[in-house]
Symmetry: C3
């Protein structure tokens, strides 16, 4: 019996060692599954860039298709590279945050202690995944601008703007919230970026179309002249891919694979997108008396932008209303912009700025734990800096190198003059 | 020594607590990884809606492209919303199932006990994931109908049909099997929905084209007149995306990330798709004496539909035969429908109904544990209700608001008359 | 007290059993998450086939669109089926490897011991996942050839070539490294296949365009005549999807979900792709004096191919340079090929062969643990066998059934003659 006890104790001691090992492997498994989820989310946000390219090339005129695709192809490259060089360390300065207003952890990625940056973010995924997920986010802000100013902006002006806006402006204002800055301390809430990503891009887009002016022949004698897009299937594909990507944009913003939170976020996201489309459909029909596919598509995007700030704190039921209102707002906003002769090729300002503001305020309305007033402060503070920065950059570029292509190039199309190929060459016997 | 023993025992006692904790975390990890897998599957099924849009807009005529995309964009919205309001609780009534024939757990989603609905489904994923995955499924049934009746159906008639068919008919018959109803008790097997999804949609499509009649000028003087689709690349993209999405459709139907079962399902799915394409290729060549891409593409879809009922119980070897037969059947079915002047724009009835039946019966043929006779009962019971319901809804709609657009609109195209834009506007200098 | 101790010991004994169980479940969880990751990677590699289809149909002329899509649709089917019948067991012969040069584990898949093939590959994922992931890889080699020889090759010649090349040549040379053959023993390194996949395909493409000759009217009087592609949006979509798929191609080649390694691979992959695009942009501008989207797109692909051999061993910093050089090389290579009147419709040889070689050598340059000389041996050995095999197959096919379509078919387009439909039919009122 004594021996039996001793053996059992010895066995227990051996197990004690194993338990520590097992426990370590359990923590490692959680890290692994979180990281898998965050990588999937990263891929989904990446493919949003194809979504944006589809929407913009689809809604843009066929004589400028290659130009639009050129911009949209370079934008994620610039986003990733500037984020590697400077942006990531500017948006997430960590210990280098100074007085909650500005911080910079130095140029280039520098691996934190611990080899491969395992469990870099609490709860767990790797440093590399964090960088790549955030880099894919960063590029979306520039892409939003791209859609608004399309068909008349010089490519080098656009590229310089993008480098500055994505490399400096976006991470600077972003650090106020996601980098643990003063807006975060104030209690401002923006889950996945209705303000930090979408309205930042939207303010850039608004500044751009104000400085560059409308396309030639868009507003003639008090009338709005239609400029039909090259391919509605392409634009539709773009919207579906954006929704697809938004599962990663919002779902990944949970920053872990936590089952309850992530899957709930996917539901509110989908419900808001659906009601946004319905809102765009009904409003488009009431206003234009037609079955306006463009308004359904932009309504879906509006619903997605609208729920982005509060996808984890707004209930599924209220998310229906957030989406519906966004779908109505996007149509009214587009009409309003046209009244002011602000020519936005794809409706980027209406989708991302108007509904980005709406979504941020909606958090203060539908989530009792957040203050509408604080939400408003965040909208105004980030909006002011984003808009004035974009306005300044565009104005300086306009003076120094010129923002706009020549009248001849715009009229005849950018593709033949600047790219030497046409977007579509359909010759059949 | 005594102290040593006591310490060890104390340590063991402490470990005992830890072991319970570790064990709990292990269960939580399994829930997390299952949930990640089910979310990925959900995204994949979502993107099938872009696949359907591509197939239908690609194979439809260019004068109706916007109309087709309008229907295909609204369909998933309706699917998600009706499933939120009523469908989910009708298809999975749980304790509210009455006599195995009908059940309804009440309007709107209602979170089950336990906060976020964690581990709602045994083995584990969340309530939200379950809802969203099933909602994406539901919308596919309506999309199948959409492809068949395209180019001549009134948009409001289609939308009303979709709300009723997806919101009521699909979940009602579905509950007989997946809601633990009488077909489930009988031993009927339909893994991922050859019958419950595809043939339900296919019966709806058949009812639709019977009531609405062929497109003008499709059958003239005993001849079948080709109506060339607007874009073969778009249709091809659609089929690839459907296969891509089918990895989630079939893989997610395992309802966990169980490695052996899920990955085996992916293999049978891919083998059947491949042989389906080969079957369509060969049959298309024998019958039409040409390299018929449409038949290869529909052959792939046929193989996918065919293996869907038994992807987890049919061996990889037999899945080759199931796919090949489906690829042959889809061509013969298309020819037969044309003989009866049943005009199906994308071959939806042949792909989803014919091969849905074949796949369901194939379970009884190639899986010894299932009865062919029981499979046949399921096919007939669900077919009868789906077909008669769809026939009734379409007939009533035809009488009350009219199913069909005017002859002028059909001839000149739905896009210019109802949507005010054209699908493609390619103007090059 | 004694009882207390006994109880504790009894409890510890019970826990000891539980610990073994828990430990087993922990191992099972790791298998599950690894398998989920590998399945996601498989889907991503699958969708690369849509990417290739997009690039090839987009850059090919509109009169041959259906023909290109026909080839690209059949290629993955052939890849999956030949790999099921013979390829998998030829590339990974396991114990059947003879003298490190050749091995064959028998026809058809045969499940290894252990039921469902759980934990088949050490560290863990299933036999089925392994097969499917590798099958998706195999088909890419053939697809590369497809793009180069497009617009003039007979469909049956192409299909026979593909069956032999994917079914025999690709797995044979591949087994030298990934099947644990002599190149593996020698210390040759090719992480995800710059040589084993991309340059094998590239050599096949080069052999193909040498034997079949340029398209009619491509090189006239010392000039290179542009043959504009049908749709630049389609080609752009293809490149985005290829990058998207490459996350699985490279990320899945880690063969587990190991967080540190996989996420680091994704970063080097993205950085190289980005710099490749920049390299193509700058070189295209310097050489052609235009904003050449085709060169940006091929530059991205070049960067991806370039980093593929060393994505896990080259540092993020150096991966920028690897990508940039690839982006420059791809333009210079395209110019060189044209000098020799080697007509490559999509630039497949420049992207996959030139940059595949560069990437393989880059491992020897930027990773101190690998020998540049050994890398060169691998490039030459695999290149020699791939090129000579492809050359022989194409030559024999040319003699026996003829490689090339008739002059009339080529001039008027393959679609109307061989497929009976046109790629685009855009008729608007």
């Amino acid at each position: 019996m004594k021996e039996g006890v001793t053996e059992l104790i010895a066995s227990s001691a051996a197990d004690a060692v194993s338990l520590a090992e097992v426990s370590g492997q359990v923590a490692q498994n959680l890290l692994t599954v979180n990281n898998v989820w965050m990588m999937v989310a990263t891929f989904l946000v990446f493919i949003m860039h194809l979504g944006f390219a589809g929407v913009e090339a689809g809604f843009g005129q066929s004589k400028n298709t290659v130009n639009i695709l050129f911009k949209n192809t370079l934008t994620p490259l610039i986003g990733i590279l500037t984020y590697y060089v400077i942006g990531f360390n500017l948006m997430y300065p960590g210990d280098f945050m100074l007085g909650e207003w500005f911080g910079f952890a130095g140029f280039f990625l520098s691996l934190p202690e611990g080899g491969e940056g395992l469990a870099y973010v609490e709860g767990g995924y790797t440093y590399w995944t964090d960088f790549l997920f955030q880099a894919m986010f960063a590029a979306t802000a520039a892409t939003i601008v791209s859609g608004a100013v399309a068909e008349r902006i010089k490519i080098n002006a656009y590229l310089i703007f993008t480098v500055i806006f994505v490399g400096l402006v976006y991470p600077f204002v972003g650090s106020w919230k996601w980098g643990a800055g003063w807006l975060d301390s104030l209690g401002f809430y923006d889950f996945a970026g209705s303000t930090l990503v979408h309205s930042v891009g939207g303010w850039g887009a608004l500044a751009g179309i104000m400085i560059i002016g409308p396309r030639l022949g868009k507003y003639v004698g008090g009338k709005i002249i239609d400029k039909p897009g090259s391919s509605v299937p392409l634009a539709t594909m773009g919207v579906f891919l954006l929704w697809f990507g938004w599962f990663g944009f919002n779902g990944g913003s949970v920053l872990s694979a936590d089952p309850g939170t992530v899957s709930r976020v996917l539901v509110t996201t989908s419900l808001a997108a659906s009601m946004g489309g319905i809102g765009g459909y009904i409003t488009g029909w009431l206003v234009f008396k037609r079955l306006d596919l463009g308004m359904v598509l932009n309504g879906i995007l509006a619903g997605l932008v609208g729920i982005t700030a509060g996808a984890d704190v707004i209930s599924p039921g209220w998310s229906l209303l957030v989406g519906l209102v966004a779908g109505v707002l996007v149509v009214l906003s587009a009409i309003t912009l046209d009244k002011f002769k602000l020519d936005d090729v794809v409706g980027a300002v209406s989708v991302h700025l108007t509904c980005g503001i709406w979504g941020t305020l909606a958090v203060g309305i539908f989530s009792p734990e957040f203050s509408l007033f604080t939400q408003l402060i965040g909208v105004i503070a980030i909006g002011a800096v984003s808009f004035l920065s974009a306005l300044s950059i565009f104005k300086i570029l306009d003076i120094v190198i010129g923002l706009r292509v020549s009248e001849q190039h715009e009229t005849e199309g950018l593709d033949s003059h600047e790219h030497g190929i046409r977007g579509y060459t359909i010759i059949l016997e």
